[in-house]
Symmetry: C2
Subunit: 623 residues, 2 copies
């Protein structure tokens, strides 16, 4: 999935140059520069090769190597990764071996992934084609957002998704860590944030540091988002004093745009945020601090007479103007703590510092407008992977398309890249992998490869291969849907399961946000995601391939009798599949002799999860 250019390698350095290089390295070594990150990358690389090839990593060194991959890098890593840090590398593979060269470790990380893409099992071991690759990304900000608020994302799930991001050379993990439905980051200074606002499901600061280190190992920055002044009900459960209305507040259980918002007219709010931003900017080392800013409906402000007075006194004609005031104050706080603010379109306000990044959910028009005024931006509109669109539909969206295509070359440089957004209303630990992958690999390619690479059929051919590789990385986007389907099938016979599978293979979840509109599945914390709609991947490969075949047949490009017969056979199979699906079978538990029905699991009672215990007796409550 990388932009591969077949290019002549730059000439070998002269011997003397190399010698001087060696001396420099030795000198460096004396000065203590050591890149443990690359050692660990080497370990992961071998482990991944082992998985992909099924070969053993032998502990022996006696036998001479048949071929060697030599990795060279010139500079040590920066202490905190920055957007724009050089990720270029060259990879040369000849029958004699392979050479990977990069100016700095980031390039090595990217090049190793390319090598892993090239490798395949051969009769005697494995092999990689002879190529000469000179490669670097088009955009410096290639992100994936995971919303850990609506549904908590366990650490192991985050980690394997970071592994997936590394495999497709993404470099920003945008951690949407607070929202109405849960405040998920531990705060030592304001402990009621996670204490009252998370229902117990939050990341400790140690876990956060662990995840940041894990991401850094993979050349991935972690940008935390604390959405404000809206999307903040969970903050107010513990700290109602910074809200615009008196409360009481609760952790929201539905999804949608909520009324509660911070009080932008109260100095307490800014004192609170000063402490909070001070703590969090220390915890998250990245230069950018995401302050959200989206979807404030203004109802809470309208309901508060003091806020109305403040608006009048400042001559603000709209709540938008009031939010501008809030944004300006918060951006100053972020700067005060040495960071630059990033936020959704709404933070692009008059007088905003020039170092902010506009995160656009609105689209390229907004992005272009910001760039014209000298502001950096990234695009997420078109990359909302929770909408269940096809990979192709995301793939054609380019951060530099639409209005942004008309920017000057200098202005275009301000468009740093984009982010796929995994909002988690209908996403939990179990199906998140298959919601993100493999589609996000297509988006990652969009961010990395030349704008001219747009062939959708070619993309799908490569997506099949990368999807396979992502399973070896440890993601469960293929295996888990099958398990979920088995659970739905219950005590089905193999034939019945095959029938369900055949049906499921051509289904896709409803698109956009229509699921919430047409069903009652809006209660995030209690709606189980164990339905057929949750178990089928966003995009049906079977349906797509059939569609391709039908299209070719219909437009005449492939109309031989053979294809007609294939299409007919397939249609007949689907028609005949209805009978086994209709077979009358007992659903789930047989209750003929009575049974205990439990509605849901309750981890907050006396059993383990909350730590409570009554001597030798405990209760697991099922609601």
């Amino acid at each position: 999935m990388c932009g591969v250019e077949f290019d002549a390698m730059a000439g070998e350095r002269s011997k003397r140059e190399r010698r001087s290089q060696d001396r420099r390295i030795v000198r460096r070594r004396v000065h203590g520069v050591h890149e443990a990150r690359l050692d660990r990358a080497g370990q992961r690389f071998l482990l991944q090769l082992q998985r992909q090839t099924g070969l053993l990593i032998s502990g022996k060194t006696a036998e001479p190597a048949k071929a060697t991959l030599v990795v060279h890098t010139d500079h040590a890593s920066k202490e905190v990764q920055e957007p724009g840090e050089d990720e270029a590398y060259t990879l040369e593979i000849t029958p004699a071996g392979a050479k990977l060269n990069a100016a700095n470790p980031l390039g090595v990380l990217r090049g190793l992934q390319t090598f892993l893409q090239l490798v395949d099992v051969s009769p005697d071991g494995f092999a990689a084609p002879a190529v000469s690759i000179k490669d670097q990304p088009r955009f410096v900000w290639r992100g994936l957002l995971i919303d850990s608020s609506r549904h908590f994302t366990p650490m192991e799930v985050l980690k394997r998704n970071l592994d997936g991001m590394e495999a497709v050379k993404m470099d920003v993990f945008h951690w949407h860590i607070s929202d109405n439905q849960g405040f998920r980051a531990e705060s030592k200074k304001l402990p009621k944030l996670h204490g009252a606002g998370s229902g117990g499901a939050y990341y400790t600061q140690n876990e956060i540091r662990e995840l940041i280190a894990y991401a850094r190992d993979r050349g991935i920055r972690v940008v935390a988002e604390f959405d404000m002044p809206g999307h903040s009900s969970s903050w107010f459960v513990g700290y109602p004093e910074i809200a615009s209305t008196p409360g009481p507040f609760k952790i929201e259980e539905e999804w949608g745009v909520m009324d509660p918002a911070m009080d932008p007219t109260n100095e307490k709010t800014y004192k609170f945020l000063d402490i909070f931003i001070g703590e969090m900017t220390k915890l998250f080392p990245d230069h950018y601090f995401h302050i959200g800013g989206d979807e404030v409906n203004g109802k809470a402000w309208d309901a508060n007479p003091k806020i109305q007075e403040f608006k009048k006194a400042h001559n603000y004609k709209s709540n938008d103007e009031l939010q501008t005031y809030f944004s300006q104050r918060v951006q100053k706080l972020v700067n005060k703590h040495g960071k630059a603010a990033i936020g959704w379109d709404e933070i692009f306000v008059p007088g905003a510092p020039k170092d902010i990044v506009i995160h656009s959910w609105r689209g390229s028009k907004a992005l272009a407008a910001a760039a014209k005024e000298g502001y950096q931006g990234i695009l997420s509109s078109g990359y909302y992977i929770d909408l269940m669109w096809s990979a192709a539909r995301h793939y054609v969206v380019d951060p530099l398309s639409g209005e942004a295509a008309d920017l000057t070359p200098e202005q275009k440089k301000l468009v740093l890249g984009g982010e796929a957004t995994m909002w988690s209303e209908y996403v939990n630990w179990e199906n998140i992998d298959n919601r993100i992958w493999p589609r996000t690999a297509a988006i990652a390619e969009r961010y990395w490869s030349p704008q001219s690479v747009t062939d959708v059929n070619s993309m799908y051919a490569r997506l099949d291969v990368i999807s396979e590789r992502l399973e070896w990385v440890g993601l469960t986007h293929r295996s888990q849907p099958r398990k979920m389907l088995r659970r739905i099938a219950g005590p089905a016979t193999p034939q019945e399961f095959a029938a369900l599978k055949m049906l499921a293979d051509v289904l896709e979840p409803v698109k956009d946000y229509t699921r919430g509109e047409t069903t009652s599945y809006t209660a995030i914390t209690t709606t189980p995601l164990n339905h057929l709609v949750d178990a089928v991947p966003p995009e049906s490969d079977v349906a797509r391939r059939f569609d391709e075949k039908v299209s070719a047949f219909v437009d005449g490009s492939c109309r031989d009798a053979n294809v007609a017969a294939q299409l007919r056979t397939q249609l007949t199979k689907w028609r005949d599949n209805d009978a086994p699906l209709q077979s009358p079978r007992a659903e789930g538990v047989s209750c003929e002799r009575g049974c205990a029905e439990f509605a849901g699991l309750d981890g907050g009672g006396d059993v383990g999860l909350s730590g409570a215990r009554r001597d030798n007796q405990w209760h697991a409550a099922f609601r």
Copy 2:
């Protein structure tokens, strides 16, 4: 998979009794008894319910519970679990809820697994049938042996297999941790054991303690085996002075019965073993210490004139008698360190202490002979799951069948149970789950349930269900073979993969030890286990089901035209499946323009695994 007896519950205790019981509990609490193990079991239970049902564990407690599972236990756990510790429990499920009662925590662990077996998804949540179960195991020693020497077993693989053992109520993990092909336990007192004898792949003492704690949480004892005086080449790499021949020795790379053996005539050997056993009996808290003792071919003893002299001086007529001498000395050392010895048949020697356990690979005749002389024993003959037998073939073997069936009731009590043995010549991290599961669940049932439960068809029906559940536990016995098959298929089209799958679905690996005899796959450390034979499960469900149908048709019990048509359709499908399998396709990497061929992975070079690094340049050597 448990022996379920539908039984009237014992009458409720009187109120006063319960009150006095409560007082006792409170008193205990004051004295500091706290069973954190049960809290953790509760957490695991809810997590497993979440996985099996797809329901959310909610953090809320506000809504009243629809039904409750009340768990009660009378006594605290023993500090070190013993064979025979009470595992009985009663489980009563009524429409009002469920009650699980057990004398001690082990019974609770077993009962929770039964509850998990009973639960299924219902339209509104989940449900369990109304039952009253009074349950306890038939045998107290229900073991699984994993050979971590021939192929190192990563910690996470061991852990998920312990989870599987818990699910099928097994209680002994026999850790075959040293053999010719690797000494895998860290020794602080004799550091060259793992240092020179493991090739770097060993468990630290911290990891060992972690695994023991993990097993204990699941009601599983860990019995370590250090095989001696044979099966010990790896010991001699670092300590040739205790061997019978001068060496030098190496970590064995082939498999089979090897010549090297400890020198039983040298006092140094016993001094060494005294130190070693002293250290290891502290590390492994279980009362039993497995000293192996099997397969000494005597060649090393024959080759050493001093040993010959010793035999003459002691009037030993055979090497067996010499081994008896060795066994007697080692058993005394084990006793000296406060433990009882367990070993293979060979340790059953005249004068052996009465507290030893004979671990029989020879069969029930040997076991019965030992029992008649008052010795305890366990059976593994018939449970060698590395032989690739069907579940049915293992299932019919009973520790009390054959000669053991004729023992007196008192003698029968000396037969403690059995162990399934996962020897790992052809087993690694990737396929071990599918070698162990689900077949071992059938063996576990044999150990737990009444001897009269022998219906093979009924067993298979239940095995399908438990196999499903084991996937939810985290085992990969179903998902990994599919991935391995995909790797073999390489860049196959979906149709081609389906054809390979159809073939693979009716294949089974060669049985017994014929693979080693008919191929050159005897080099353990270098033979990749990425072939078709490694990817197909030991037993084909498709073939078994077809066989059942054919048998019923042939014997006349089911000879209608419909069945005949089904059989014909299936046979036609298999016949027609050959064409897509034969389609000529490029294998693996296209080498048209040349390619780099690598034979295998070498982790011992300059890249990560060994920790070595040359400044900013490192080499991944491919042999």
